[in-house]
Symmetry: C2
Subunit: 204 residues, 2 copies
Amino acid sequence: MVHKQAPPVRKLDDQGKILSNAARLFREKGFEKTSLKEIAEACNMLPGSLYYRYSTKETLLVELMRRGVGLVTAEVEMAYADSDDPVQQLRFCINAHLRALLVDPDTVYALLFEWRSLGPEAREEIVALRDQYESLWAEILAVMIEKGVIKKNVDSRLLRLIGFGALNWVATWFDPNGDHSLEAIGDFVWQIAIGGVITKGVQS
Amino acid sequence: MVHKQAPPVRKLDDQGKILSNAARLFREKGFEKTSLKEIAEACNMLPGSLYYRYSTKETLLVELMRRGVGLVTAEVEMAYADSDDPVQQLRFCINAHLRALLVDPDTVYALLFEWRSLGPEAREEIVALRDQYESLWAEILAVMIEKGVIKKNVDSRLLRLIGFGALNWVATWFDPNGDHSLEAIGDFVWQIAIGGVITKGVQS
DNA sequence: GTCTATATGTGGATAGAC
DNA sequence: GTCTATCCACATATAGAC
């Protein structure tokens, strides 16, 4: 077997550069207001060159979103497998979802807020992927309720939706240089999950 | 003093029709993908006619957002004044914020998700209004902590941001004909605030 | 106040040289 | 694989009649 001449020197640079620049611009200006010319300029290329990789602007967004879902899914699945104690598992999964917002914030931002720019077919694909991720959480929460980690009388769908809100919204205000670290945010959410915020005794 | 000849027969119909149609379309398709032609058609008008009321497309969005902030602010202020018991006040304010998402969902949706379509000057204005609303909540939460309703050790800024997330995200999935009524959602959030979701005894 | 007609700009996308 | 050049559609906005 012949030795490969050149070591696999990451070929992602081309595609990766386009995707990351696009993601950044989409986050800053929104998908619709970002022109292919701008994306190309950010990559030191010309508009026409982008079409060699992505036949339409929408394709670019779809690819971005696919990666976004893959990212959060991988983080949460790893976190779940990272402990045998269900309480720890839940806590780790919350932190994993939050971490995914940081690992590649621009990509996840597109996933959360640019789905209206997808045509019907593309939207169907992405929604299916998103539903898959949500069903992963549905399973996790079901297990937690079954194991008695989460109170039996809690509506798991509402918990998932409200919890997603609390976590996803972080993407709109989180500042890596700001007052609150991701860990602090995760701890805070966990404290609420454990005991709420209302003082005992004044509860009506 | 001369009697006014015609009674004030709601003159909002014209402007109101434009705004509500625009809000609905902005929510469905997004601001950038909605053309003035579509808005005009929805109002049984022609594109040129819209410019009599709004000199630019952005002006329309700004006016919409002004109303959105006014709406939620009014709801929460009324709710706060609706009781003397601080616990009830907090609960009412949460419900009021949620209710504002329903009263005029399209308008509030624009406020939450279309701010990137504003130019620098307009954005400054709307952000200032939004900050005003947030400071209203900051005050409410500060009072609640001071009065011992909310636990003393809770970071009020984090609570506000996480809470806004939980509530605002409802706008992305709420279905008036769906399983959960706004009241049920408010109760659910309140239950979490009171005691969290984790079973006592398994808390690590 | 609403219409017609149109100016003007821009963006996505294609064809084909290199 | 990237470039040049360009087509084409469409959107915002304007001017001016009615």
